[in-house]
Amino acid sequence: MSAAPETPPRVRAGGFGWTYRDRARPVLDGLSFEVEPGQVLLVLGPSGSGKSTLARALAGIVPHALGGTWRGHLSVGELEVPATPPAVLGERVGIVFQDPDSQMVMPGVADEVAFGLENRGWPRAEMLSRVPEALAAVGLAGFEERATATLSGGERQRLALAGVLAPAPGLLVLDEPTANLDPVGMEAIFGHLARLAEGRRHTIVVIEHRLERVWPLADLVLVLDGQGRQTWFGVPAEEAARKALLALDGSRGGSDAAVLAADAAADHAMLAAAAAPGRDVLIAAGVAVDYPDERGGRRLALAGLDLRLRAGERIGLVGPNGSGKSSLLGALAGLIRPAAGTVLIVGSSGASASASAPGLDPARLGSARLPALLGLAFQDPEIGFVGRTVWAEVAAGPAADRPDEAAIRAALERFGLRGLDEASPFQLSQGEQRRLSLAALAVRRPQLLLLDEPTFGLDRANAEAVLDLLDEGRAEGQAQLLATHDPRLLPRCDRVLALDGGRCVFDGPPQAFLARPPYVPPDPWRLIGSDTGPAQVVLGTTGLAAAEPAFAER
């Protein structure tokens, strides 16, 4: 309840385990580790390894807000978590989650930072000096009177960090803080994380899959397997790195450099095969999109973009948040009526590509004609679900050309959803949800597939599976436009289209893009910028050159 900074606590676990109330299996099992005051612990593991549960336990959310069975010991300083009231633990621990949108409480920036101080009963005078300090510490000095809604995703996440840092917690827990950010936002968070780690004023527990950035910061590494068991704890040595890569590789197994090299070689072969240009599938000319702004005027989101996409071609669409990617996808799918320009999808019978009727405008077509023409995979598959069961989700569509039972069965099989026919789409794992949304689109064989962050929220094994499935569609001549923040997907594209401020700033081969990205960011891009063979990444100061851990869990 005072402004005096907490001293960083020691964090200790002994045989710690947790089972959520409605689950048969423990989500965490037998964790034993010790982090000295001021040290940085990096926690790694595939989807479902219980990393987020560990973060929640350190903040006391488990067991105080969520029900289940606790085993063993977990302590922050002298406080044993299950025996400590959440209010007392809350004085010591700050936690930043991955989604900035579901952490913002107040509409104003200063109020957002002050929220945690008010809850702890800080005197007003101390709040008035602490709020600007906390904002300055995350590079948001002068943002006090801004509305949170006007901030970018990266700025909002830094604001969340400021709000958590303001009460000066001794223990800082970061649960995949960059998972939802574009490369610019990510870079800023890593910069601040590095500064916090150097400061040694907090004990830090960070869950993060971008090894190349957090590895150098870690004093200790804890690796969990898919069942929530500890497979490694120690200083970040070679052995730890190997375990870490295995962990991030998930169920796929054997993630050594040879396997990755083979994958990359296969990709290059496929790129060469796909180089023969197919017919045009999509012709967009001068597409502009604008939205109403606060003052009754219009704000331009996309300024006159030209784009041609051929059969069997895959374009990677990149650019910071707000650069116009979503607007472009919306306009190409006919969901947003462009302020100017035309979008045409050329019918599969080559004859329709005549001068008089070059194609169809998806915005003017009836709903029933769309599924055979184009598919759009949403960033959050859940929001796109239309069926109550997995089977119904794939079967749903216009009555005229309903896929037959055999086709549905084959799609479920191919997308790894066998035996889930009657399950609710909302109860599937993230990887299953993503594959289901793609299966439902694939069964109609659209000529054009638009994908918004198709590997979002997936660990490496699941992301690889998704890309393999996309390759099958492309081999059949499907054109694919793939919007992504993940630079690791780009080598598997034929072309890269980069947007910034609603304009095209790059259009060319991925190797050229990765070698010289046309806008600020930075290391995560540069690290994979080699143009032949598998990319190499040097993990911090360990001197260990490992194949890069592509598609790590987000």
Binding site: G94, Q103, P107, N119, P167, E294, A333, L374, L376
Partner: protein, 265 residues
């Protein structure tokens, strides 16, 4: 991709914006009560005119986007005036000249006046609501409700956080509609489109509940509602402007009631 109307950029130095939100809520309550009680055109007209004058002179609300924003209200008020007028007893009086004849329905001047009361009442209620809620953000409103009227923190700031999620829910709603269109499931005509509403609501509700749960955990982790007394980052205090607004506001309400009663008498 936001599909909610953008918030109005209200001038914070306007008299109405400088007053405590609870003052506006109290005066607005009195006006709404008066609008509901009054049964004469003149009384409702006084309220509408007063609200318009305040809107233009003292609210700090930008006027340019207002006609478009208030268009649905104006349309509703007009429609109510005509339909209520058509259905009025006075219209059956064949001694009155008809302004409009629709089959068996006749619209007469006394009937139109009776309908006008309802139309003006809708307008008065809408304008008053704008004056109460537009001049300050939800934070200030919640601060004031907690500090002056002792509303529990949990309800006030819980609501503020929930309102913050509204644009995301709206975006989800639009996305669920887009998904149906692209999957070939959008019925061709409007009445048919309504049949997809329950399914879309389900999807949006699932997403909203998951998001609300995450937000709730984040708020708990930051010590919200932990039993400690909260301190105030923005203490709010009333001043002479609140007294002035309360007095003028009450005078207008009483005046409107008096005019209404006078005409009726």
């Amino acid at each position: 991709m936001s599909f909610l109307p953008a918030p109005l950029a209200v001038r914070s130095d306007a008299p109405l914006a400088r007053a405590l939100p609870v003052t506006r809520v109290a005066v607005g309550g009195a006006w709404l009560l008066a609008a509901a009680i009054i049964t004469s055109t003149a009384g409702e007209l006084v309220l509408c005119l007063a609200a318009l004058i305040v809107l233009v002179t003292a609210s700090g609300i930008p006027l340019r986007p207002l006609p478009r924003r208030l268009f649905p209200v104006a349309l509703a008020a007009l429609a109510l005036t005509v339909t209520a007028g058509l259905g009025n007893q006075a219209d059956a009086d064949l001694t009155q000249p008809a302004l409009l004849v629709l089959g068996p329905l006749r619209l007469t001047w006394p009937g139109l006046l009776a309908g006008l009361v309802l139309g003006l009442r809708v307008a008065a209620i809408a304008l008053t609501s704008v004056l109460v809620f537009a001049p300050s953000d939800t934070t200030t409103l919640a601060d004031s409700l907690v500090q002056q009227w002792h509303l529990p923190d949990r309800i006030a700031y819980g609501t503020v956080a929930a309102i913050g999620l509204a644009p995301l829910v709206a975006a989800d709603w639009n996305a669920s509609g887009a998904a149906r269109r692209l999957r070939g499931l959008e019925p061709r005509w409007l009445p048919g489109r309504l049949t997809t509403v329950p399914d879309r609501l389900f999807v949006v509700l699932v997403a909203a509940l998951r998001r609300a749960e995450r937000l709730g955990l984040a708020m708990d982790a930051r010590g919200f509602d932990s039993g400690l007394p909260r301190s105030r980052f923005r203490p709010l205090q009333g001043g002479w402007i609140d007294i002035l607004i309360a007095l003028i506001g009450l005078a207008v309400a009483i005046g409107a009631l008096a005019v209404g009663a006078g005409v009726a008498a």
